[in-house]
């Protein structure tokens, strides 16, 4: 087990800070007059892992960016632990689809971005947790795509955030690296207990990682189901496949086998 370093937001001798609870009330967003998100309500409990799936353009990335504070809602409000945030950063971190590492900084400096105080030890520790120990002085240019995303994950977790937002971070990786990264994210989440919102187009990924899968369609929440499978999730099992199949059918616009066939929207 990797050694534990006290995160900066933990009171000495106190309990871990845990996750943020986030609530969205009546949140809507329009771009150029077109509604992307109709007024929706969403509650994310502290420490919960929520996956948001849906077709391209359904607004899932917009929803994540609203929660992150990168965009402001046209209507409604978003509260973290009951407060509306005015600034970016703090205890919320984002992992983007691209690694977005600073090319002119070493891996260690990249992981430590925005950290203050004696951050090197924590940064080194996080790099070790993602399996890149010994490479802290390399330039990002020498890494592969998967390695870069691992550094991005380390960077996101180095400050022990209470809410981690993941915007399709594994989309550009090959299938095997993706599964390894999913396992890594799950184990770090189990260990640190932050809240997480994962936006993904990959339904299997959503079912593998999340406590709850939300489907966005037509700018609103079309499906919100709990995934009560034990962890670590086993992909080949029947229960896994059943939930994955149900969500996938809804995403593709097909009805479940019990209901009469409806028109297919492909």
């Amino acid at each position: 087990m990797p050694s534990k370093i006290l995160p900066f937001n933990r009171k000495p001798g106190g309990a871990p800070a845990g996750g943020l609870s986030t609530s969205l009330r009546g949140v809507a967003k329009m771009y150029a007059g077109l509604p992307v998100l109709r007024p929706l309500d969403l509650q994310i409990e502290a420490g919960e892992f929520v996956a948001v799936v849906g077709r391209s353009g359904c607004g899932k990335s917009t929803l994540l960016r609203l929660i992150a504070g990168l965009e402001t809602p046209c209507q409604g409000e978003i509260r973290h632990d009951g407060q509306i945030r005015q600034t970016l950063g703090g205890d919320i971190r984002v992992m983007f689809q691209e690694a977005r590492l600073l090319p002119w900084r070493s891996l260690l400096d990249n992981v430590g971005i925005g950290l203050t105080g004696d951050w090197q030890a924590a940064a080194l520790d996080t790099l070790r947790e993602v399996g890149l120990q010994g490479r802290e002085h390399d330039w990002p240019a020498v890494l592969s795509g998967g390695q870069k995303q691992r550094v991005a994950l380390a960077r996101a977790l180095a400050s022990h955030p209470r809410l981690l937002l993941l915007d399709e971070p594994l989309g550009a990786l090959d299938a095997l690296t993706r599964i390894e990264m999913q396992n890594l994210i799950e184990s770090l989440w189990l260990e640190q207990g932050f809240s997480a919102v994962l936006v993904t187009h990959d339904v299997a990924e959503a079912v593998a990682l999340a406590d709850r899968v939300i489907l966005l369609e037509d700018g609103g929440i079309g499906l919100d189901i709990a995934v009560n499978l034990p962890r670590p999730r086993q992909r080949g099992e029947a229960a896994f496949a059943r939930i994955e199949g149900e969500v996938l059918r809804r995403v593709l616009g097909q009805q479940t086998p019990n209901q009469p066939a409806a028109t297919q929207h492909i």
């Binding site: 984002v94 090319p103 002119w104 240019a141």
Partner: protein
């Protein structure tokens, strides 16, 4: 490095100059060219030694280098500051960029008669010409460097808690640096050009004076020494710029040694 690789990398660039030098020696020896028109290498060398011995070489070299350096710092400093300001502030850009572009389109060497009227024929005129020549490449490339910072990196840095000063220090300036250094390299070339021309305006010191004076007395060998001095200084400045690039841009895949 193996012997062959060493020979290729270090010695090969000198092959053509060595051949040219040999050709020069041979042609001078067989008297194919009049030494008035094109002196022999050993005459140039002797002239250089004489000048070095009497201290004149160093005096004029220092003065020319000083003019160039001062002009570069003034023009480069203003260009850098203005490029930064216009790059970072849309308001500054709207106010100032068009004016700068209008002035840029006037070839600065064509301003020489005007410069003489304004500044006379003393040091200020020469430094002004150098500064003006250096200003534009540094301004344009600094401005461009700031404007083409990857917005994704900026967004990431903001999300990770960086504010204005931190954003500039960690993201904007390093991202603009490759472009700024391109501007510096280009400006160095223009610096020498401007200096050479400026030193043809009535001078009493500097390498240009050395050349003009020698021309009056048909001392072609001294003229060649002056030309060689200019090219030596140019090469030195270029090497300095490359060294800077190598040091500051170690992270860039295009600049890495190998």
């Amino acid at each position: 490095m193996t012997g062959k690789a060493y020979a290729a990398k270090v010695l090969l660039p000198w092959l053509v100059p060595a051949l040219l030098l040999s050709a020069w020696v041979v042609l001078a020896k067989i008297g194919w060219i009049s030494s008035r028109v094109f002196p022999a290498p050993w005459e140039v060398w002797q002239a250089a030694l004489n000048l070095a011995g009497s201290g004149e070489l160093w005096r004029h070299l220092g003065i020319s280098a000083g003019r160039a350096g001062l002009g570069f710092m003034i023009g480069g400093g203003i260009g850098f500051t203005l490029g930064m300001a216009n790059g970072l502030s849309p308001l500054a850009e709207k106010l100032l960029d068009s004016s700068v572009q209008m002035v840029r389109n006037v070839p600065h060497l064509a301003l020489i008669p005007l410069v003489i009227l304004w500044f006379g024929i003393d040091e200020e005129a020469k430094i002004f010409l150098v500064a003006l020549g250096v200003f534009f490449p540094i301004y344009v490339n600094t401005f461009h460097g700031i404007r083409t910072v990857d917005p994704q990196l900026l967004e990431m840095a903001r999300v990770y808690g960086l504010r204005r000063a931190g954003l500039f220090r960690e993201v904007i300036f390093p991202a603009a640096l490759p472009s700024i250094l391109v501007g510096v390299r280009y400006a160095l070339g223009l610096m020498w050009l401007s200096l050479i021309v400026a030193e043809t305006i009535a001078t009493t010191s500097g390498i240009g004076y050395l050349a003009m004076n020698a021309r009056e007395f048909m001392q072609t060998d001294v003229v060649l020494v002056a030309i060689l001095l200019y090219s030596l200084l140019g090469k030195l400045a270029d090497s300095l710029a490359r060294g800077l690039e190598r040091k500051l841009l170690r992270w860039h895949p295009a600049y890495r040694a190998g």
